[in-house]
Each structure stands twice: as structure tokens, then as C-alpha cells.
Amino acid sequence: MQRIMGVELRSYLSSAELHRVGDVAEKLGRITAQMHSDGIAHGDLTLSNIIIDELHSPWIADFGLSSFTQDMEDYAVDIHLLERSLESTYPNLRKAFMASFMRGYSSVVGLEYAGRVLEKVREIRMRGRYVVRERA
């Protein structure tokens, strides 16, 4: 166990400068990709389970709902949930944040794999009621 001095990403985003947000999102994308590459899905990847330390680096916390899995759907659920939680608290940040996040994500797993995960995220989103158009 390690003690991390920092704040939840949720509150961090309420006051962060814009260039920091992109940077944090990209780093978060990288560590999320690393986690997925290690065969771990978090299961509850919301803004309140991510901690930003004093050096503006993200840490993923609270693995209570995580699982060892090779199913890409589980990884996609992580990303879907992150996007949902952004959308429900900082709707205006969602697009830019997710773009930076995916840049970081692809830099670890490669563009081709990241593309397949994103396709899965889209599929999950489309399973929701009445989703007619692409909203990403």
C-alpha cells in the first residue's frame, strides 16, 4: 500500500488549467492502457477513483470491483464509464479529455488495438436506449 497525497480527479478538474487537463488525460490514458495490458479491468473507473498527485500525475485507486480478464469488453467498459462520469460532471470537457486520453492509450497499446477497444466502447454506448446517432 502506498499513500498518495493528492486530490480526486473530479475536484481537480473543477479548477485545473486547460493545458494541465490535456496532460493529465494523456497520462491517465497511458496508465489505463498499461493496466489493461496487464490483464486488469478496473470495473469502476470514475473521476472519483482517480487521484492526481502534487506533480499532476494520475493514480488509479480503489480496485474493489476490478477483475483479471482478457475480455476486451471489460476494458471498454472502463473507458465507457470514464466518459460517462466526465459527461455527467464536466460535459464541456468530455471531448477534449477523451481525445487526449485515447492518444495516451494508443501510445501504449498501439493504434490498431486502441481502435478495436474504441469500437467496442461505441458498441456499448449504442446498446443504451434510443441512441440513434454517434455522439462521440
Binding site: 470495473g43 472519483s48 465507457h80 460517462r84 462520469s85 455527467s88 446498446r127 443504451g128 434510443y130 440513434v132
Partner: protein, 328 residues
């Protein structure tokens, strides 16, 4: 006077409802006729024919109960979606006819938002996390920056639909029958529990519960198993949304708000979080015209009227596409 009066028409599924609301927050009437299929679920065309047949008498009844003449109506509102196309079109046609005849403005109300707004009106809650559970919809939402944002929703069928279908297959009838029969259940069978983040999925659970019946499980046990599993899933995602948004109030709306067991489970969870639970009163829980009338007033005061040309129904309307301009 000085108050605005709105006539609201609801016809998204089995209910044809007409309500009258006044801008001081009073509901003057809430009349309805409910289509009951002879067997199985709702047949959209039959339901719409039922609505067309009863439309006039329900409009009349709503006006009589409100003690108003047609000319006292200032605004006409109707459910524009989401819902079943043929049913929606019947309500929309009636609304257009009344608005055009009286020369009054027309408002197309999002059905899901109407469930929430009438819940807010009736309970007085201010800034809740909302669980909207009904026969056709299951979602968790909250008002953030001018829109109802979806935190979680069903990825296949609605919670109410799941329990209704189970009841019909089991031969006991739709809700509330499964919940009533469940009280005699003694054993809870394990069923698939599908929660993905804050989303839920019920179709696999329904299939598994129906298989239990085929395998000869007691109907009461199967009913107990399915209701407890569905409600547990709902409470889990609701709890997560509450913790995530750090809100202090929960509002439960939609037809399943009448479920005593679901309410009991949510109440326990609220106690743990020191959150206050608000439940829409039974008369406004299921689909009704009053909620459309009240929400129609909110739209109207925010300047959100539509022309006849813009009044095409939207069976797949989503809750998060409406700018909630009437709320601070």
C-alpha cells in the same frame, strides 16, 4: 387569475391520459384510460386504436374535473417521445387538433423529463439523483449544467419490462403480481447479476428466471429471485451514482416507484448515506397526463413551444437532448 393553464396529453404506451395543470403548481385534473391487452404484452397498434377510441371522453373528463371550458386552456402539451410510434401519433394528433382549433400554442414534452418534473413538483425535492424505472425505461440521471445527464441506464430491456414479461410467462400477470407472489417465496435462486459500471442489463436475467420455471421451480421462489435480483442491481447503481455526484437527495419516479420492496431497499441505502429519499406519489408514478401538463407549462414559460410542422413524434427521444431552460 393571471395563471397559465395547460392541458397535457400522454400516450406513449398503454395509457391515454389527459391532465390539466396551472402555473401556480396545482394539478387540476388527471384523467386516464389504460389499454389492457387480452394476452401478452402491449400491441402498439391495438393500443393506439384504444387511445383513439377513448380520446374524446378522457379530454372531456379532464376538463370537467378541472371545471374548465376549452377556451380556458392557454397551452396544449403532448408527449413527443420516447414511446411507441402509433401510440405517440394518436396523442399528438389529438393535441394538434385541440391547439389548432383553440388557436393556442403547442408544446412537445419529453416523456422521461415529465416523469421527473412531476416528481419534483409533488415531493418538493430540489437537486436529486433520479432513478426513473418503469415498463419501458430504466435510467439514472441528474441535472448537470442545464441537461439531464445519463449516469447509467439499461443496456437492453427496462426493469419493469423484465418483471412484467416474467409475470406474464409465469401466468401470474404483470407487475405488481410478481412482487405480490414473491412474498410467499422461501428460496432465492442465483440468477445472472449484470452491472457494468452504472449500466444494467436484464435480458439474461429474464431468460434465466424463465428457465427456472421450466425446470419446475416454485413460481413464488422464482418471483422472489427475480425481483430481489433486479432491485439489488438498481440499488447498487443508484448508490454508486449518489456517491459519485455527492448529492443529498434521491428521487424515485416511474411506474416501479409503486414497488414497496424496491422503496424499502432504497430507503436502507439512503440511511447509510444520510441521503433523503423522495418518492413520486402513486397517482403520478405511472404514465399520466398531469405530468405532461405540468412539464408543458415549464417548457412554455421557457419559450419552448413548437409549430405544427415541428410536432412530429420522436419515438426514440433521449432525455439528455433537451435543454432544461426552466431550471436554475
Amino acid at each position: 387569475m393571471g395563471h397559465v393553464v395547460c392541458l397535457g396529453i400522454e400516450s406513449t404506451a398503454h395509457t391515454f391520459g389527459v391532465g390539466v395543470a396551472r402555473s401556480d403548481g396545482s394539478i387540476l385534473s388527471n384523467a386516464m384510460r389504460v389499454y389492457k391487452p387480452e394476452k401478452g404484452g402491449i400491441h402498439p397498434r391495438e393500443a393506439s386504436q384504444h387511445h383513439a377510441k377513448h380520446a374524446l371522453e378522457v379530454v372531456r373528463e379532464a376538463l370537467e374535473k378541472a371545471r374548465l371550458k376549452p377556451s380556458d386552456i392557454d397551452v396544449v402539451a403532448f408527449s413527443i417521445g420516447p414511446g411507441m410510434g402509433p401510440c405517440l401519433r394518436t396523442g399528438a394528433t389529438v393535441a394538434r387538433a385541440i391547439a389548432a382549433t383553440l388557436g393556442k400554442p403547442l408544446v412537445g414534452v419529453n416523456h422521461s423529463i415529465a416523469h421527473i418534473e412531476v416528481g419534483k413538483l409533488a415531493t418538493g425535492c430540489r437537486d436529486p439523483v433520479v432513478l426513473y424505472v418503469a415498463g419501458g425505461n430504466t435510467l439514472i440521471t441528474a441535472l448537470v449544467e442545464g441537461r439531464y445527464r445519463i449516469l447509467g441506464e439499461t443496456l437492453d430491456i427496462a426493469a419493469g419490462n423484465c418483471l412484467d414479461s416474467f409475470g406474464i410467462t409465469a401466468g401470474i400477470g404483470p407487475m405488481p403480481q410478481p412482487e405480490i407472489i414473491a412474498r410467499e417465496g422461501k428460496k432465492i435462486h442465483s440468477l445472472p447479476y449484470k452491472v457494468k459500471g452504472m449500466d444494467v442489463s436484464f435480458s439474461g436475467l429474464l431468460t434465466a428466471a424463465e428457465r427456472l420455471l421450466e425446470e419446475g421451480a416454485a413460481v413464488a421462489d422464482a418471483a422472489l429471485s427475480i425481483t430481489e435480483t433486479v432491485y439489488s442491481m438498481l440499488v447498487e447503481v443508484l448508490e454508486r451514482a449518489l456517491a459519485y455526484l455527492e448529492k443529498r437527495e434521491i428521487l424515485l419516479v416511474g411506474g416501479l416507484a409503486r414497488s414497496r420492496r424496491l422503496v424499502e431497499m432504497i430507503r436502507l441505502m439512503c440511511e447509510d448515506h444520510q441521503a433523503k429519499l423522495h418518492i413520486v406519489p402513486d397517482e403520478y408514478a405511472g404514465d399520466n397526463g398531469a405530468m405532461i401538463a405540468w412539464t408543458g407549462l415549464l417548457y412554455y414559460t421557457a419559450g419552448m413551444t413548437i409549430s405544427l410542422e415541428e410536432s412530429r413524434v420522436r419515438p426514440r427521444a433521449r432525455i439528455d437532448e433537451v435543454d432544461v431552460r426552466w431550471s436554475p
